[in-house]
Structure formats: structure tokens, C-alpha cells
Symmetry: C2
Subunit: 270 residues, 2 copies
């Protein structure tokens, strides 16, 4: 999906919500466990219920890999279902990959050529040749970790160099030499509050993928106050607060309600 198409979807649907498919077999409603593929059955129901209120889905790979072969099958099924049934939704493989050049190229093949997702999250620690193999496909995106939502984000990302630039700023600066705002986004955690002002000084026009509202405690209003651009420039993710809102047979209906509540807040903020 191109930047132009993404912005058009946001404007049409009045939402910039991404639903995180962090699907854990221990947390899904018990009645689904008799399905042939409980994880996919859960995802399909969540997707069908929430699709009108979001513009993106983000499966986190860890939740699928932990089930081995069966998990990988659930992931492939989920992405294929999304591609066929909801072709206008943006699909993010939250993989946080990054390796030497020839290895990153294999990951890029996996996610873009085999699975056909729109974007992959990538960790920047290994530098340029770990990131660029994910680039160069039209309408496909790298979402590079910049300032993450977790407590450990303070351990290294805020370390300041002799010129006064924090590490996350170095990542934002250098990576703009590798790709532009049509192929690169950045992960900035909703928990970072006013730091979005600083982020926007480095990347005034790029889209930001923002996890951390809901279970992690970030504020949607604050993210928009300091991070929104005139083209929106935000994809805000919520996972647990939507998909596990209800543990009964009514789970999909309640998930839709939660997603709709967020969509209405987003409509007002746009």
C-alpha cells in the first residue's frame, strides 16, 4: 500500500487505528479451543468485527512462533485471509528483525514476497545494511524502531552523543539517508508523551507507528497533540485492550465496541 492510499483510507474511514493481533492460546475464549485452528478462528472473528473501525492489523510474530509449526500456519492463514477479504487494510508483520545484509534479504523475501504484508518492523542496532534489504519494493515499508514504549527504552535509546543527539535521534537522522517518507515509518511508543515533539523535529512528515495505548498506559490525546501532522502521520496500535476485552462467546462483539470507541475518539482528533 502506498502512502497516498494509506492517507486516503484514514480520511475515508476517519480512523488511524491498528488492531494488534497478539493472539495467545491461553487468553482466547475457551469455546474456540475445539476449532481446528483456534488462533485463526479467533483472529478471523476479531478481524471481521473490527475491520470497519481500523485501517491496519499487526500480528506480532512471537505469538505465532511460540506455537511452532501450528503457529506459523495460523499466521499464514490470518495474513491470507486479510489479503483476500480486506485488501484495503494495511498489514504489519511486527517482527523486529534485522541481521547482516544477506540474512535481512532472506527475511524480506519471507515477509514481502511469501506473505505479502505491507510493512515489517526492523531493529536498527546493526545499521544500514541490515535495513536496506527490506527496501526497494513499491508500496512496501520498513518500520524502524526509534523510541519504543517499554521501560527498557531508557537503557540505550536515550544515550546522548557528544553532539547532544540521543541515539533514537541518530536513528531517525541516519535512516533518512536510506529511504524517504514513502517507504519508511518509525516506531514511537505512546508512553513517550511529550517526546513526540522532539521526534517531530527529526521527522516532521513520516508516519509513526505508535504502540502503547491501552494495556501499556499511553494516552491517545497526548500522542495526537504532540505527534499528529496535517496528513495524520500516525498509526496507533491497540492489542490487548481490544482483542481480550471480553473472554466469553461475545468476545468479537465487545472487541468491535472497543475498536469503535477508539475510532470515535480518533474521528474527533483528526
Amino acid at each position: 500500500m502506498t502512502r497516498k492510499e494509506l492517507i486516503a483510507e484514514i480520511q475515508k474511514k476517519r480512523t488511524f487505528l491498528c488492531v494488534g493481533l497478539d493472539t495467545d492460546i491461553n487468553k482466547i475464549p475457551k469455546h474456540l479451543l475445539s476449532e481446528p485452528d483456534p488462533i485463526f478462528a479467533f483472529n478471523r472473528a476479531i478481524i471481521d468485527a473490527t475491520a470497519p473501525y481500523c485501517i491496519a492489523y499487526k500480528p506480532n510474530l512471537a505469538f505465532y512462533e511460540c506455537a511452532g509449526l501450528a503457529g506459523w500456519q495460523s499466521l499464514e492463514q490470518t495474513i491470507a485471509y486479510l489479503r483476500i477479504t480486506y485488501p484495503h487494510h494495511f498489514i504489519i508483520a511486527d517482527a523486529k528483525r534485522g541481521d547482516i545484509g544477506n540474512t535481512s534479504a532472506m527475511y524480506a523475501r519471507c515477509f514481502f514476497d511469501q506473505m505479502d504484508v505491507d510493512a515489517v518492523t526492523v531493529a536498527p542496532y546493526m545499521g544500514q545494511d541490515s535495513v536496506t534489504p527490506f527496501l526497494g519494493r513499491n508500496g512496501k515499508w520498513v518500520i524502524l524502531l526509534a523510541l519504543t514504549s517499554n521501560p527498557g527504552s531508557h537503557d540505550f535509546q536515550l544515550i546522548t552523543d557528544t553532539g547532544g543527539t540521543p541515539l533514537f535521534g541518530q536513528v531517525l537522522q541516519k535512516s533518512q539517508q536510506w529511504a524517504d517518507a514513502d517507504n519508511m515509518m518509525y516506531v514511537v511508543g505512546a508512553t513517550q508523551g511529550r517526546m513526540f515533539e522532539q521526534i517531530r523535529r527529526f521527522v516532521p512528515h513520516h508516519f509513526l507507528l505508535v504502540p502503547g495505548i491501552g494495556a501499556q498506559g499511553g494516552s491517545l490525546e497526548e500522542v495526537c497533540r504532540y505527534g499528529m501532522t496535517d496528513e495524520c502521520g500516525l498509526i496507533v496500535n491497540s492489542s490487548r485492550a481490544i482483542i481480550y476485552a471480553d473472554p466469553t462467546t461475545d468476545f468479537a462483539h465487545v472487541a468491535a465496541e472497543r475498536a469503535q470507541e477508539i475510532q470515535q475518539q480518533m474521528d474527533a482528533l483528526l
Copy 2:
């Protein structure tokens, strides 16, 4: 595998070689393509041929994920085969994972509880809570990226803070508060040459996993001169130069010869 057991294996076999199983369907000998699982058939032959000359195997996950379900199956088969047939070899899942705490915990379950590997490579960018969920299992290891072998290692890993410490040094320092030399190793590329002296000032006793000899051009002698400890303290990986040394039906025999050559050099260096 505990640190004591690892050191005993190195001393007994007079080698600290790790064979990287970066198995690419496009690079394996053509006659294997008629096997039901060509990747596993290749790995099994390479393992049987090289086992006397190495103490570790390191499948890089990208090479398996890029084949989707079939690739994941080849990986599980390879690890199960190693576990049963060569229980004294150290198995490293080269995954370079790292995510927020609850997600890293899922990856840890995947690699340690489901697959039962000995170690996982982890990227440090997201800090403490992205790393610690991989810790706390006896005989299981985190191998944290410190100073990698690729050109992009210069982009961020060498950035110096106001106190004069490079980022890789901060990673080495801080992570020692999370685990000790019995559960943590570090990735340092063989291409970094004399930088091993600086690494050893931060971590005099830890094991280092050293990729980058062979195809990437690092020197085994230099790595040992500046990086070896009195307990060895090194696991040196070679992938392409061993496993793709010969493209014919003779591939396993030639791989064994290459591995044996390196083992003999290591014997002399120990």
C-alpha cells in the same frame, strides 16, 4: 549446556568452531532437491560430517522462515536431530529477537521450551525488559549483539556518549547487571580485529560468539590474539565457507575437510 560443560567440550575436542546452518534452497547440491525435505537432508549430512570438528551449530532463523511452513518444519527437524544424535553440541538459534517484556517472554518459550536450544541471539536496542525474559533458565543463554561483523555496525554501535563510551560498551556494561558470564555471551564480529582488546576490557571473562571468518573476511588468528581468554572464551562461527564448500554429491565430505582444517588451526591456537 552450562559454562563448565561448554569449556570441557572445547578442551576435549580441541575446537571452538560453530558451524552456521544458513541453509539456502538455492545453494544446496541439486541432487538433494528430490528428497522429501531437502533442507533437512542437507543439514543432517553437514552435521554428521562436521560434528567431530565443532562444538556448536547455529541455524539462522531467516533461512528457515523464508520458506514459510516447510522451512519451520526443516528447522524443528534439524534441532530435534541435533538434540537426539549429538546431545553434547551447543545449539544457537540465531534469531536476533528482542521485544517488549511480554513478547520477549513468548520468544523465550518458543526457543527454550518448545525447541530446547541452548542459546538465542538477542538485539539490545529495546533494553533490559526485552532481554531479561530470555534469562532465568539453567544452562540456557542469551547471546546479546554487541559489535557485529557487518559494515552497518559502524552506524550506531560506535556512537560515543558524553563520557567517551561507545554504544557497544554501554551494552556490555549495562547488560552485566542483568546476567553473569554463566548465562550471557556477546556477539562480536571477527571483522572487528583489534577492537577485541577494547571488548575484553569490558567483559574479560564472558564467552564471545564470533561470526565473520570465511565469507565475511575476518581473521581467526587476530580474533584469538586479541579476544581469547585462559578458558578460551570464544565460539567462532563459519557458515558459507564450510557448508557451501562444494556443490556436488561430495559436499558433506568437503565440508568435513574444511571444518577439520579450522579445527586444526584452533587446536594450535588453544
